[in-house]
């Protein structure tokens, strides 16, 4: 008697609510242009645009947006690692590769029609150096000064010979910005942008970003007039929105399991893009018990990367056996060669040598941070714990800290074994080795790793221009890495773009940046 009354009441309440809202009605139709393409495409993301100022933005998703509303002197050809001219038509390099001269296109204009000249480039770069924000080091570490020879000629004077300077030039700190940007302060909500294919039409922080075609763009006009980016707090609401038809594209980042089941369902196209994003364990080389290289090696040996990929990531990632990602030149599977996967016997042997056995097991504290790398992180920690404990000689305690604390602990070297991840700043083996393995440069990792041989190899690799020569040094470095084990590479991420079947033209290169201007949606 009691229950029916109650449930009847509840049900009728919902019915009322739904009928009421149903009567009000929703909108379904998207306006189309005469070209036969939909006028707008809605992209959902769980990332955030932090700062529309390239002088301060230093996260992947914001860089992606900046790449769509701005352009540098050079850019990657969509879908490749090949560098092609952008705002600069051509360039020259001095003998010692210390002086780089760029010749700008004469038809480059900002979104509001203001012509873009060499002085704008110089102003923008000097602005980055002056503000000295988070990503400023990408300029300040390399560039001595920059000059405008005339309205269309820019000259960079570098501190050292840098073989990969063009790769650096593709990063947002080098993008020329509209004169509206405050000259000496961070301008987070500035929507004037640069000279990219799109311009920002509307910007409501953490809610939506509307991009419209830049009418003054020198190049080919994008097929889609309007790109709307919706910001979601988490993957599940984004997925709901996708299935609800609220968004056309679900981009960064759905969960592995979402990808798996969307694939199974088959209603959406799932586009897979290899990514340069790597995950690895840091081992503290200064503190007991991971101070002992044998312990570190044992930990490396006991890991089963395939199991991790299957259980935690449902096969949406690749196992990684080196810090240099798969597919990048000079990569070798050093850890696979040296330890293999789930090599419990080897791990036990090494631990025995280090003085641990079943009665005196190795006690490990494994740290992770719960939100920064998405919610698979806790599962990753659980599976690692299980793999290590399978040896019977290791006991693992899992600990976690919020990102702000976590980074502090890491920098101070207070954690024993901890999970971190790396998005490259520029696509070169150097960016996957020097920050980790070179004394001083790797201070932020908190592993305290230092090996003079390694330092020497990395310094040499940086200055040599010839790629084959450099590759040899990086191979050497990877072998030492596998021997010393200050880091254990685990997996390499892949990126997934899930789109409604009508959406075409998804092109994402190894730089992992989604260029919206190739997108179109069939009406």
């Amino acid at each position: 008697m009691k229950k029916p009354v109650l449930s009847l009441f509840l049900v009728s309440l919902f019915v009322l609510a739904v009928v009421a809202s149903g009567c009000i009605g929703g909108k379904e139709t998207t306006p189309t242009t005469t070209t036969g393409y939909a006028e707008q495409i809605v992209i959902g993301v769980t990332d955030k645009v932090t700062d529309l100022d390239p002088a301060n933005a230093y996260d992947f998703y914001t860089w992606e947006v900046l790449n769509n509303v701005m352009e540098g002197l050079v850019k990657y050809k969509p879908g490749t690692l090949e560098i092609e001219p952008a705002l600069a038509e051509k360039w020259e390099v001095s003998e010692d590769s210390k002086v780089w001269t760029f010749y700008l296109r004469k038809d480059a204009k900002f979104a509001d029609g203001t012509p873009l000249k060499a002085q704008d480039v110089v102003r923008s770069i000097e602005r980055v150096m002056k503000i000295n924000g988070d990503p400023a080091w990408l300029v300040t570490d390399f560039v001595e000064k920059v000059e405008a020879k005339d309205d269309y000629t820019v000259v960079f004077y570098l501190k050292d010979s840098i073989s990969y300077f063009l790769a650096l030039l593709t990063t947002p700190p080098y993008f020329p910005v509209h004169p509206n940007y405050k000259p000496d302060a961070i301008d987070s909500d500035q929507t004037a942008g640069g000279a990219g294919p799109y311009k920002i039409a509307k910007w409501v922080r953490d809610e939506e970003l509307v991009l419209e075609v830049n009418p003054n763009y020198y190049g080919e006009k994008p097929k889609t007039q309007k790109i709307i980016i919706k910001f979601y707090r988490d993957a599940s609401t984004m997925r709901l929105a996708l299935q609800n038809g609220e968004i056309d594209i679900a981009w960064r980042t759905l969960r592995p399991t979402d990808i798996e089941s969307i694939k199974k369902e088959g209603k959406f196209s799932v586009i897979e893009v290899p990514g340069g994003f790597i995950r690895y364990l840091c081992l503290n080389t200064q503190k007991d018990p991971t101070k002992d290289v044998k312990v570190r090696q044992a930990l490396a040996a006991a890991i089963d990367r395939q199991d991790i990929s299957n259980k935690v990531f449902k096969g949406t990632v690749e196992p990684l056996y080196s810090l240099i990602p798969n597919g990048m030149w000079s990569h070798i599977d050093v850890f696979k060669e040296k330890y293999g996967d789930a090599n419990v016997d080897l791990a036990k042997k090494l631990l025995k040598e280090a003085g641990y056995d079943e009665n005196n097991p190795l006690q490990i504290e494994l740290w992770y941070t719960p939100t920064h790398y998405g919610d698979t992180e806790a599962d990753l920690a659980q599976v690692l714990k299980e793999q290590w404990e399978n040896t019977g000689v290791i006991k693992v305690e899992i600990k976690s800290a919020e990102w702000g604390t976590y980074v502090d602990y890491a920098r101070k070297g207070q954690m024993m074994v901890y999970l971190l991840g790396w998005y490259p700043d520029y696509l070169d083996p150097d960016d996957y080795t020097t920050p980790f393995l070179k004394s001083g440069a790797n201070k932020w990792t908190g592993t305290g790793y230092s090996n003079p041989t390694m330092d020497e190899i990395l310094t040499k690799a940086q200055t040599i221009v010839d790629q084959k020569e450099r590759a040899k040094f990086y191979e050497q470095a990877q072998k030492i890495l596998a021997e010393d084990v200050p880091f254990i590479p685990l997996i390499q991420g892949k990126l997934y773009v899930v789109t409604s079947p009508k959406v075409k033209g998804v092109v994402i290169g190894p730089d992992m940046i989604f260029k919206y201007y190739t997108l179109y949606k069939e009406a």
């Binding site: 809202s21 009000i24 929703g26 700062d51 961070i186 953490d206 609800n244 980074v407 932020w444």
Partner: protein, 339 residues
């Protein structure tokens, strides 16, 4: 009389100040006693040299002694300045964020509040009128069940049912993408009415349905209970019986009873509003609602001191304001209250 009310409001308003100070102090202390700071959270795993780190810290004013930081921020607040964000993005006025996020929460709270009060009144009066019967028991069980509904769970069920399964209502966000709505107050429903944008209006309302039912339903339990008990109480009082004895019509007596029963409910409303804002965190999380709750949760991850302090103080101020309004309404409605 009018002047009395005026000064009452002012003095009652002044009492919000200690509340704000206390909460600011608590939050300040909790944020600083433990490791981690916003600069590191931003820099994260990037390869930034220590000098650059120190520079960034100094820029944010984090190199100063704690008491200086405490009073600096306090004096800023007095001038109405909540400082700038310290992480992701840095240097953006916290006030800008509050202006952006707060209306979202306010809109959600207002609708949820309405849902909860209406539900509570209806169920409470039904229960009281049928005191001691099975209907009464059902309503009481409803109040307990509603009170113990776990917001994310309930929200998910609604999302699944009305969003995914029946495809009736949007499950997240505040408005359909691509609808161009001029932002005036930040309350989308209000803005769309002000600008006569009916497409935006329906869209905003549709987005509000599920979250406000979730939150409103959970909070209605307390009202059901209180309205019922007050109503039972009032109905048993002599003056109700004497209304009947004087031959006053039945429905009128019910109305008078309701008015009397409603007065204590007003007091609850002030307190409920605080709970409502708390519940909004979970609701906002579940429905991807870009409000204050999610803002605070996000900012905490980055140890964004200024943003958290600012948000908490702002919240405290708002809660104080609501309880002030409630008190004033109470004083105006109940002739027995003196001010």
């Amino acid at each position: 009389m009018a002047r009395g009310v005026g000064s009452y409001i002012i003095i009652r308003g002044l009492m919000i100040i200690p509340t704000i100070l206390i909460l600011y102090t608590i939050v300040f202390i909790f944020l600083r006693i433990l490791p981690g700071d916003p600069i590191l959270a931003v820099v994260g795993t990037k390869n930034i040299p220590p000098e650059q780190l120190a520079h960034l810290r100094a820029m944010a004013g984090l190199d100063k002694p704690l008491y200086v930081q405490y009073f600096d921020y306090l004096f800023r607040m007095i001038r109405g300045d909540f400082g700038v964000t310290l992480a992701f993005p840095q240097g953006k006025p916290v006030w800008e964020y509050l202006k952006l996020r707060f209306p979202a929460t306010l809109e959600l709270t207002i609708f949820s509040f309405t849902v909860s009060v209406l539900l509570g009144l209806i169920t409470g009066v039904i229960a009281a009128k049928n005191k001691g019967t099975k209907i009464d028991t059902s309503m009481r069980i409803y109040s307990i069940v509603a009170y113990t509904l776990f917001i994310p769970w309930f929200g998910m069920m609604l999302q699944y049912l009305f969003g995914v399964h029946f495809h009736l209502l949007p499950t997240s966000g505040r408005i359909d993408p691509g609808i161009d709505l001029q932002r005036i107050t930040g309350l989308y429903v209000l803005d769309s009415i002000l600008t006569g944008n009916w497409e935006a209006f329906t869209s905003a309302i549709r987005h509000l349905v599920l979250p406000s039912i979730t939150l409103g339903m959970v909070l209605s339990g307390a009202y059901t209970r209180l309205v019922r008990n007050n109503m039972v109480d009032v109905l048993s009082q002599d003056f109700i019986r004497s209304y009947h004895a004087r031959g006053v019509k039945h429905w009128k007596v019910t109305l008078y009873a309701l008015k009397n029963a409603f007065i204590p409910v007003i007091t609850l409303m002030g307190l409920q509003f605080a709970i409502l804002l708390g519940g909004a965190v979970l609701t906002e999380t579940t429905f991807s609602w870009p409000g204050m709750g999610t803002f605070i949760v996000d900012r905490i991850d980055y140890r964004d001191y200024n943003a958290i302090q600012g948000a908490v103080v702002f919240f405290a101020f708002f809660v104080g304001l609501i309880s002030l309004v409630v008190d004033v309404i109470y004083a105006l409605l109940d002739p027995r209250v003196k001010y």
